[in-house]
Amino acid sequence: RNVAHVNGIKAQSLSDNKLSLKTALQLIKTRFDIKIAYKAGILENKDSNLTETQLMAFGDAKTALTFALNGSSLDFNKISESQYIIINTQAGNAADVIKGTIFSASDNLPLIGATVYIKGTKTGASTDAQGQFSITIPNELAGKPITLSIASVGYETLEFPVNDFKTPISIKLKESASSLNDVVVTALGIKRDSKALGYAVTEVKGSEFTQARENNVANALTGKIAGVNATGLSTGPGGSSRVIIRGNGSFNGNNQPLYVVNGMPIDNSVPGGAATTNGLATNVDRGDGISSINPDDIESITVLKGGTAAALYGSRASNGVILITTKKGVKQKGIGVEYNTTFTIENAINDNDYQYEYGQGLGGVKPMTKNDAIATGRLSFGAKIDGSDYVAADGLTHPYSAVKDNIKNFYSTGTNFTNTIAFSGGTDGIIYRLSLSDLDSKGIISSTRFKRQTANLNINAKITDKIKVEGLAQYNLEKGFGRTLAGDALGNPNWTPYEVANTVDVRWLAPGYDAAGNQTPWNDAGIATNGYFVINKYQQNDVKNRFIGQGSITYDIVKNFQLKGVISRDFYNYNYVNILPTGDIYIPKGQYSGIKSDVSETNSLITGNYKNRIADKIGISILGGANSRRFENKQLNMDGNTFTIPFFYSYKNLATSSTIPTYQRIRTNSVFGSADVDYKSILFLTYTARNDWFSTLSPDNNSILYQSVGGSFVVSDAFKLPSSIDILRVRASWAEVGGGAADPYRINLSYSNVPSSGQPLQNVTTNDITNPNLKPYTSTTYEAGVELKMFKGRLGLDFTAYSRKTTDDILNAAISSTSGYNNAVLNVGELSNKGIEFLLTGTPVQGNKFGWNISYNVAYNKSEVLKLVEGTTTFEMARTVGNWGYINQTVGSAYGTIVGTRMLRNEAGQIVYNSTTKRPVATGLQELGNGVAPLTMGLTQDFRFGNFNLNFLIDGKFGNKVLSIKEVYATRLGLLKSTLPGRENGLTISGVDQAGNPYSALIPVSDLRAYYNDMRNYSELFVHDGSFIKLRQAILSYNIPVKKLDFLKIQSASISFVARNILTFYKKTDNFDPESSFTNGNAQGFESIGLPRTRTFGLNLMVKF
């Protein structure tokens, strides 16, 4: 067939067989199966300028209509895919045209593509890129009351009676609860239609964090998003979180995502560094940066998982980005007031599965003197528990009976009380929101307290039509008292309730000090501090003053071109003092540790943005920009020991003290750009490029250019699919991210003075070998995904597969100290993470009275260490107290492998004994399992019944191992059931000796303690599967029908009963919670006698005036 070329149309003279407009529209209707509405009579006597052949050559209705109406005074509006309306552009007077703008209520940004109908008719329009619409009122409705029906995907449909036809109207749509997340915030705070993205993005509404709240908002991400592995630590209120997106991408650099508030990065460091696996004294979780964010200020959190998503933020985004959009004011009459209060109580969960057959004592004998009781304070190798009398460490006679609830006896009920009040309002020119929040937490250790006061002010102002400014200021005052020490025994209060002999009520050890203020002993190891002495006499106070400020100016220079400048500064000053008091048994004259630090992160950003549509088919958006990041940490570590005046805790009262200054400076300069192109909103392509210059790298190698490409194809718009399918789209992307060294001063060897009271001393500044050739690392991600929405949003599926590879990682590699150094800074290694993510959302029941929503996500990430330092196949990341286990990176294994010893067995599986020592021979170090869970999932269900709403979240992690230090000790101390064999008549061991001959020996009762004590040499005994399924959260809320309480002028109110960490449905660890981590560092896989996990219950009240 001869098909006329479209470009030739205008050149053609009118031919004889040109179609009348009416006929042309009839043909278009039939050809494309659409409905076209028009006012009677407006088509009369008009021609289309098209021949039938030409008309039939058009590929879609929109193009056909455009050409058919070309040259006439008519235009058309697309109402939906199958509905169009012909409008008369000259049909002039204002009275019969309704104009207006539709906004999203939550952020006051214009809503693009919302449909506006006159109720009861087919007449309507959809909003343009500025959120504006214009509807010509049909003649038959002239003079009649008109109600507009406004709908947009993801928002609640609104009916709006029009009273004033002359003034353009402004309407805000509320986001619907069952949001399909069509518009998402992406990099640099840009809102985009999710279908345009070549990568997976997940958005969580702020309301999900405010009811059953966590103090640290990052902890609340647990189980909510596929591929996001969030873990709250067992370190008490004010503690840190560890969030890993799509696996760990760096061997021992930072693996946590970049946190971005309203488009600008914030600092997420832990003052003084994360707690280590075997540290002493100041080894405490001092809280991370994200813990400063008040959940009530959060409008939404968007998680950008892939590299493409992150390309515009640069290297720190290679681990993903968590974008936090804070709430803004809304234009309204008067002041809107929102009040939210939550009170929760939390109680320690007792995970102990100890033996209660044999009580305190040694060699089958119970203590009968105070001295013996102290000597065996932690030993349960005594006589059979029979209720008879014995003497305990307090010197008093007590019944020799099992005490099973020392967890309950020792820990108090913790409380969290949060109050937030927010005021918002605004006029045409300026909108604002101010929130004030107070959080007061009491930990389950009665001396632990955490207070956080937050003031957050957000102002948006329109200076002129073209210039807008936005300002954000957040001030936090955070105070921590008595944060719990982690790791080794000294000053770690948890050791007492967990290790005290099983016939002792831990309360007998209170108050932990004598009349002179000295610690009262409870066991033979001075390092295992009496927990009550820790509570009552150890001191640990910290204060953080944090200010986050942001100012931005947006200038619409010409139509479609916008310039934006932003400066943000996140600054905190931190003061920490840790007093190990006079009278401690292990360090009798006390010890002092202080940290004072000033940390700031300053970003200056300028962007230019051009948007246009060409011939209504091709959309173009181009963005270019530059950023400068400055990071500074000025820190003083003030440490000392021996208080010369006992019990007087001043730095000036120390016999030995030193002040060590640290001054870190990092600068990263960047230029970047992106281009987005779409063809008819069906096919989208995005390209980004960024060049970074890192101050932390070798001057010869400090620059890297990296790029990304992403595409999305909306199959459901391109082809006609069954009507049950709302959206079907496929997406794919490739992205590279380059990164610099996280720490400064890793290029050149330098020398530092060492504190000395005599001759001056000097040494190399660190025992890390610096690297003058340090160059950027790269992380490359491929991903592809499919998204399907069906049955008007009632069923959604989203599937993503990705592969992420880090090369030339900047590694602080542990090396043999015989080299003269403990670590070397190297550009080595390759690390791969491959995984899949799956999200299923559904609304099985959707009724007026009753509704049921389900969201299920599951992710599997397989990590593999591909390459390490040349000639090395393994290196160590961390080790436990007593070197009972290590976390290693080993070529061919998953990231973070637990390494330890096993009992040597012969080929028949018999244990090989050393006949001299009567102990199994320990193997060398072997791999015992992976410390990071590869499989994570979460299931959220939401039931609505009238004004009641019931929500619960079940989540699980699978496939990781945990090495329990608590079990090492509980075995050594005779608390575990596995130490029961042999208590009456001794333990017969049998196997083979080292020569391979059959071997058998009797361990007499008197030697049992030593035997079980030595079990610590076989790490395998304490490594367990860390898989679990938990009922993480439940919320039962009631929307108070405020209309009935009209006189209170309340807009809405709800009250909720909330609970977190309610039940563990499944776990494989008998004696501890599989999530008991105490550091947010990279070495995961050790449990080490941290605070017990807690179960939280409470009430939440939310009122809006």
Partner: protein
């Protein structure tokens, strides 16, 4: 946009240039604090009822890792520091004395490590920065010894009184090259004598060479570091500080966090022999007051597994002498020279004195040295010394072994609290005669250690080198004998 990056990436709190003198001082402090405290228990000077702290005296298998840090720390501290110093001064002919002192001190530091472990990284050690060698090979102990002796020899001859020295930065001799020379030959004497069991001829060569070079025979020349009683920990006597912090800080005889006391072997021996050092070294707290009376001194048995009710009645180190934080640490003493020379006489390698006079001079110097450590509280009178010597004459008519036993039992008393040197001497000579402790769950089958275990981290980080050493030397076990300890 990167023009100020170099300045930004330069640490304002550290220096880009090395001060060899300051690093050398640090290396002296670090080398002097390389003391494996647990050996005080092994040599039966001290013990504890507690398994962990009592490991040295009880050999409890589960505490096997305790010796590991000793190995690791030495390399990234004194060994690396000395490598930095040597690299900084080695090419400057004006700094030969700095180079020689650093090499002598390095030989001392290496000998402390190899004597504990046997084969260790030596030639390739501390080349992580200069050669990017992250996995140094282990050298056989024999070649380590030969090289240390060569180092001492070359350094001693390299010293030149006319050239610059470390001056006050040298904590041991304040730059005195004559004394450094004596120290070098004295160490040669010590290390040469170490070889008697494995290669007597080699031992003889080096012992003779050392004596010919001139060894320390006067207390004015002994190698020691003086410390301060207050200030930074690094400026305090390391053995005193370690003991003080772990157990004796409260000075009440009872609240020892790690349960430490003197062991009965040591106290009983001194008490039975009316050794005047007993009242200098040892106290018993009576009603919270330190009492040095000989009659009430009593050592604790190493066999205890729980705190005994009479814990307070056992002897512990004297705060004024052994625990004096400002007391000197003796690196090499005239007592040692005298005992080694006494042995050389017995072996027929030395004729500059008689075994008896050297033995007696050794005892005299050993008793006098406490006044060097603690000038006002460590004084033992000549009368006391002469009386002791009178009742402990060298049995010159006895066998070689009998005389060796006398000499090296006295050396055991003289070496305290340098248990590491006593441990080496014990392994070589077999004296003093110690009865091993056979504690439940011990790692040695109730025998005294012959060496320490390599750190587990070496399995992780330097496996091939470690495996080669083990293949050569024998299992990485407490009872495997190192090269010079071979029977």
């Amino acid at each position: 946009c990167t023009k100020d990056f170099q300045e930004i990436n330069t640490d304002p709190e550290s220096s880009t240039t090395i001060q060899p003198a300051y690093v050398f001082t640090k290396a002296q402090y670090d080398g002097a604090k390389n003391n494996l405290i647990l050996l005080l228990g092994t040599m039966q000077y001290t013990t504890s009822f507690n398994d962990v702290a009592g490991f040295g005296s009880k050999y409890v298998s589960s505490q096997s890792q305790q010796s590991m840090a000793q190995f690791s720390n030495a390399y990234y501290q004194e060994i690396n520091e000395l490598a930095l110093v040597i690299n900084a001064v080695k090419n400057d002919p004006e700094q030969v004395n700095l180079l020689a002192s650093a090499r002598i001190w390095r030989a001392y530091c290496f000998s402390r490590i190899t004597d504990l472990y046997g084969d260790i990284p030596y030639t390739e050690a501390a080349q992580g920065y200069t050669n990017s060698n992250y996995k140094p090979a282990y050298d056989p102990q024999r070649s380590i010894y030969l090289d240390m002796l060569k180092e001492l020899d070359e350094s001693a001859s390299g010293l030149n009184a006319a050239k610059a020295t470390f001056g006050q930065a040298d904590l041991i001799y304040a730059g005195n090259t004559v004394k450094w020379k004596k120290f070098a030959y004295s160490l040669m004497l010590r290390l040469g004598m170490r070889l008697t069991k494995v290669d007597a001829a080699l031992a003889e060569t080096w012992v003779k060479k050392a004596i010919a070079g001139g060894v320390i025979t006067d207390d004015a020349d002994i190698a020691k570091i003086n410390y301060m009683s207050a200030g930074q920990d690094i400026n305090k006597n390391p053995i005193a500080l370690s003991l003080y912090n772990s157990d004796y800080i409260k000075a009440d005889g009872n609240s020892n966090p790690e349960g430490g006391k003197y062991q009965n072997t040591f106290i009983t021996y001194m008490k039975n022999n009316k050794d005047p050092r007993l009242g200098i070294l040892s106290v018993v707290y009576v009603n919270g007051v330190a009492d040095t009376s000989m009659a009430i001194q009593k050592g604790m048995p190493a066999t205890l597994s729980a705190k005994p009710t009479d814990f307070v009645t056992y002897s512990e180190p004297n705060q004024k002498t052994v625990l004096a934080l400002g007391g000197a640490k003796l690196i090499y003493t005239t007592a040692e020279t005298n005992f080694l020379l006494a042995e050389a006489v017995l072996r027929g390698w030395y004729t500059g004195g008689t075994a008896t006079t050297l033995y007696e001079s050794g005892i005299r110097a050993a008793m006098k040295q406490w006044a060097i450590i603690a000038p006002s509280d460590g004084i033992i009178s000549d009368l006391q010394i002469n009386t002791y010597i009178k009742y402990h004459p060298l049995n010159t008519t006895g066998t070689f072994d009998a005389q060796m036993q006398q000499i090296y039992t006295e050396y055991w008393l003289a070496a305290f609290p340098d248990a590491q040197e006593a441990f080496a001497s014990y392994r070589r000579t077999g004296y003093p005669t110690l009865v091993p402790v056979n504690y439940v769950g011990n790692a040695t089958g109730g025998r005294i250690f012959r060496r320490m275990l390599y750190p587990l981290s070496e399995q992780n980080l330097n496996r091939a080198s470690l495996d080669a050493a083990i293949a050569r030397q024998g299992a990485d076990d407490f009872m495997t004998r190192i090269w010079w300890d071979k029977l």
